[in-house]
């Protein structure tokens, strides 16, 4: 017996049965380990069960051997333990090795094995009892809500299993009336009329293809995004002229031109005027994008269109950094790029309208551009192919902009009517004014960044 115990751990894996070690001692070693740590117990049982499944022959042998040394004082407890283990944990789990302990510690370990099922069974019963009360509470809550909606008093009445059809109808009607207001009939007629006019093409667009009705719809759609998601703060609205032409010059960033959308939203919300963005020709070459851009009032960023808009007394918006600004890496955020060739200044001078510098803080963080695939971008004819921390990784989820805090500040207008319209042909003057606008925006950006603090909270 003693030399058998000595050989444990040297003659192969415990519990495997290597003809020299008795299975009971192997089981003891297992039990000893499981007794030391209660959570490991199940794992050990599994380990013991797996060999038992695999090798039926050693298991049988072990069972046969076990019965011989079982005639000991500690073996008294073993048979009941074996029975309970077989009963509760099922026939497969109850390996014979567990059931044949000789020592006291083995006897001590078997009760936990037997106890484990007994402690597990009450939870299966208790949720059943709890579930009834939860259902009850939910049903009662639903009933209360229904009653509140119906404003009828049926306190003592038993709650029916389903919601009655007339209740659903009345709820729907109530919701409809709440949404549409008391004059719902007139409003519905107006809505249907608008839809019908839309479908029959009875709406007006201007010569740029601008469709004001679309902008109104878009304004409502953008509002929750701007106010709740980006927590947009707008400063210096009084610097936007109430009438007459003006050229709004802004910094460009954010991988996707959301800043243009937000600026247009802010201008329309606070002044009621429409911002007419000037976009790159790529915008109008792309299907769907170009179509929507034209409807929103955008047009090509060329001298002719800019002057046409400005002399027509419109608010034109321009982002002179272009793709250099919007597609710059995240590490270069809030660093203004070159302001094109200063064409926007000459347009404003010819039209004799003021230039309003617009500083947009927050757009840089919505899609942090951490990588670019120039080869694929060139293949697709795009200026850059963005890689953000989330974009190709999470698929469509990565297209959700990060909720950064936004501040748009409209700066003091820079007047150009002091210059002659012919001054637009003086390159030195153009560069000077361009630099002035650029510096104004850059300094404002730094100030706004300090004001904003954390980008997201």
């Amino acid at each position: 017996m003693v030399d058998e115990r000595k050989q444990i751990g040297s003659g192969g894996r415990a519990g495997r049965g290597n003809r020299q070690v008795s299975p009971s001692s192997a089981a003891r070693s297992l039990a000893g380990r499981s007794a030391a740590s209660a959570p490991a117990k199940k794992q050990a049982a599994k380990k013991a069960a797996a060999p038992a499944k695999k090798k039926a022959a050693p298991a049988k042998k072990a069972a046969a051997q076990k019965s011989a040394p079982a005639a000991k004082s500690t073996a008294k407890k073993a048979p009941p333990a074996q029975k309970t283990a077989q009963k509760k944990t099922g026939p497969k789990k109850a390996g014979p090795k567990k059931t044949g302990p000789k020592k006291v510690e083995a006897a001590n370990t078997t009760p936990p094995v037997a106890d484990a099922p007994s402690t597990e069974t009450p939870p299966t019963r208790r949720p059943h009892l709890r579930a009834v009360t939860a259902d009850d509470a939910a049903a009662a809550a639903a009933a209360a809500a229904q009653e509140a909606e119906r404003r009828t008093k049926s306190a003592g009445a038993p709650i029916p299993a389903g919601i009655p059809l007339d209740d659903i109808l009345s709820a729907l009607l109530g919701a409809f009336q709440r949404v549409m207001g008391s004059d719902w009939e007139a409003r519905l007629a107006t809505l249907l009329h608008a839809v019908r006019m839309r479908l029959s093409g009875e709406y007006e667009v201007d010569e740029f293809g601008f469709d004001p009705a679309i902008v109104e719809v878009l304004q409502n759609a953008v509002e929750p995004i701007a106010e709740k998601w980006f927590r947009l703060e707008v400063r210096g609205v009084e610097n936007i002229p109430a009438d007459g032409g003006a050229l709004l010059v802004a910094n460009h960033s954010g991988t996707v031109p959301v800043d243009g959308l937000m600026t247009g939203y802010a201008v329309h919300k606070y002044t009621g005027r429409h911002l007419r963005p000037l976009g790159a020709d790529l915008v109008f070459a792309l299907p769907f994008v170009g179509q929507i851009a034209r409807r929103m009032g955008a047009t090509l960023a060329c001298t002719e269109d800019a002057e046409r808009l400005l002399t027509g007394g419109e608010l034109a918006g321009v982002w002179p950094e272009g793709f250099k600004g919007i597609g710059k890496p995240f590490t270069e955020r809030y660093k203004l790029q070159r302001f094109g060739r200063g064409g926007f200044v000459s347009s404003a001078m010819r039209a004799q309208v003021p230039i309003v510098p617009v500083s947009i803080v927050g757009a840089e963080e919505i899609y942090p551009l951490v990588g670019n695939v120039p080869s694929v971008a060139r293949l697709l004819g795009l200026p850059y192919l963005p890689i953000t921390p989330f974009f190709p990784l999470l698929g469509p989820l990565g297209m959700i902009p990060l909720p950064s805090k936004w501040i748009i500040e409209f700066g003091e207008p820079i007047r150009t009517d002091a210059y002659e319209p012919e001054a637009a042909d003086d390159p030195m003057l153009l560069f000077n004014v361009t630099d002035q606008v650029r510096e104004t925006i850059q300094q404002t950006l730094y100030r706004l960044l300090v004001d904003r603090g954390n980008a997201f909270f």
């Binding site: 019908r196 029959s200 010569e207 020709d281 109008f284 034209r294 060329c302 269109d305």
Partner: protein, 331 residues
Amino acid sequence: MSRTVLVTGVARRFASAVARHLADLADTDPDAGVSRVIGVDTVVPDEDLGGVKFVRADIRTPVVGKVIAVEDVDTVVHLDVNPGSRNRLSGSSSKELNVIGTMQLLAACQRSGTVTKVVLGSSTAVYGTSPRDPAMFRESMAARGGVRSGFPKDAVDVESYTRGFARRRPDVLITILRTAQALDPELEMPLSAYLRNPVLPVVAGYDPRLQFAHVDDLLAVFAESVTHDRPGTFNVAGDGVIMLSQAARRLGRPMLPLPALGFAGALNRIAHAAGSDISPDLHRLLKYGRAVDTSALREIFGYEPKYTTADVFEQFRQQVRPGILAGIGAR
């Protein structure tokens, strides 16, 4: 001074309308200064030309020079610059008629000692159509794309030959009228043929801006440039634009969005199946559209168009058969 006017291409509806208008002017209004109107074409026109004297001559041959000399023509209205169509002329033959015809005609005018005025009926197609286009083309702007082939290229070539002629004969007054397409069921214009299809194939993702001119405005402008001296290049179109989607909805015709790739072929096939005919260059216009500025016509030429693009379209809508979806129309 009373003028003898030569109008080319009178077998076409629009040219014959201009010729008849000038002839009527000669009959009704002696002050207008038009005495005789001569029409030339290679084929006999289908309709009655009224007071127009028809001479069957091919402007691609030097014969046209003899016509000018014999009839003592002093004003040439060149209207034989037309987009080819599939059943009549296409590709190289329409190019030959447009470009070679113009060259021969201008050569004849250069030789002639009597010709003092040339009016060229060009098209707004000279501006091409591309995503880099400005919203409204002025006369001084050049095409930014879409004039590499087909009718737009012909129009650009014809205009450049005419300007070359103007350099060689500075004493001859040149008026180039870049007209938008008229939308009249009577006239064979590519867009009106397209808009009469029961289903309108459109390029998915593009909604071009279209502009139309009224026939009355066009006739008046041509008559004005014949009877008065209006040298220069002028756009002629109705004010405002109409989007293709809007046009289709107003007509009550369903749109059939097709991918941009292979649109031209599909458009041809659908139009052919529907029994109509499509100009080969139309698909480009249906992608990016085009609009022109007519301020030079008002300020320099001195003519105020009477009809806007929307008016022209509304008249067209009343003349054609209503579309399938016309029931939801608000009118």
